[in-house]
């Protein structure tokens, strides 16, 4: 397959959250606002890229029996490094996101891609896959975060949207996360069914 498709697949056709159903936990937990979603997405993209590269590099040395512990150690190491560097050199960013960085270790997308893709593909392919999946994840998080911020706190990027309007607070809490996620999933599937029907009719 063409190299660019590796990237674009992760954006929509194989979006990690919408299609693969991975990373739902952070997707629900941190998307109380668009900025939080963006920050988490970028941090995940970085860790995903580093881990995919390293896993692809050592894939021939690691036997099947110990691959899971090895991958997890690799991922956790990168996340810890990101956390240390942020605490030391990016205090403003750490203030905004510091809470979410350790959560990246439990993000299934990273282990999932390491196992399903990086362990069996070349360095370049793994890199492109990581960029695609990470970007798709970030995009979805920003969308979900924006939706929940507007409906649950009447704000977007921290600024009030409609002055004086009392927001639907439940959208900023856990139930709202599920509701918003379900809504987006439903919308996407409806769109897919529609295009499938249209192409079937066309043929």
């Amino acid at each position: 397959m063409p190299k660019t498709q590796l990237i674009t697949d992760g954006l929509l056709k194989e979006n990690p959250v919408l299609i693969l159903g991975l990373g739902l936990c952070p997707a629900l937990a941190v998307t109380t606002s668009a900025i939080n979603g963006l920050g988490m997405g970028i941090a995940t993209l970085f860790v995903l890229t580093c881990s995919n590269l390293l896993v692809s590099l050592i894939r021939r040395q690691v036997s099947a029996e110990v691959r899971i512990p090895v991958f997890i150690v690799v991922i956790a190491t990168f996340v810890t490094i990101v956390e240390m560097v942020m605490k030391g050199y990016f205090p403003a960013l750490n203030q905004a996101l510091g809470l979410f960085i350790p959560l990246i270790v439990v993000n299934c997308i990273i282990l999932g891609r390491a196992e399903a893709f990086a362990a069996r593909n070349s360095l370049l392919d793994s890199l492109l896959d990581a960029i695609g999946m990470g970007s798709g994840f970030t995009l979805f998080l920003v969308l979900l975060g924006g939706l929940r911020e507007v409906s649950g706190a009447n704000k977007l990027l921290g600024y009030t949207v409609v002055p004086g309007l009392e927001p639907l607070s439940i959208m900023a809490l856990a139930p709202g996360g599920f509701l918003a996620l379900g809504l987006l999933l439903g919308l996407y599937n409806w769109h897919k069914l529609r295009t499938a029907k249209r192409s079937a009719k066309g043929v």
């Binding site: 090895v70 150690v73 690799v74 190491t77 030391g88 990027l157 600024y159 002055p163």
Partner: protein, 225 residues
Amino acid sequence: MSSPTPVMRSVLTLTTVACAAATCLFFCHAATQGAVEKQQQAALLEALRLVLPMAAPAELVERGAGEERYWRWQRDGQILGYAYLAAAPAYSSVLRFMVGVDAEGAIVGLRVLYQAETPGLGARMQEAASHRTLWQAIVGTGEGGETGAPARPWFELMFEGLRPGTVIAIRRDREWTGLSDDERAALRAANAVTAISGATISTRAACDAVRQGFERIQAREAEQE
């Protein structure tokens, strides 16, 4: 030795990876530790400057250790006030504050150093009131557009003037941002704060932290005499 069995190879691989990871983290930690401590110290000094703006850094004498540190503000042998670290467990995290009080025991300033409460609820204690709408922010009109200076969180401003030596009452009917100046003065006179709507536990923890910290430094200072 014969060629390593599959089991031995697995053990070897795992051990190598673990050792490599540990080494990597050791060096990374060593490299960033200095910067991390500098950031924490800078944050502490910044908080001190905010809660006791009238005090020169040389006039603040650090006492105590670790999380029970407090600073005596003295000038020419006279004690003008204190600043202390306060902490208390709230809903989903342990809150950390820096509180500045004057010689009479009234709060001069409060700074939230750390909180990890629910965004939209307890985390609003670090929210700075802005009355601009999204459109105004894009166009660049409305307050804050000219000076660009970040406003102080209303939660911190709310504590100024209160006396942590006595109980701080919590009102739950309206929020501080919606009160008039007179109503705020009345609240201050009654040694009360308003709770963050939907985040009573966080608010109560904040009051507890401020009060317990104050009692602690009172006890320490009494010991000295």
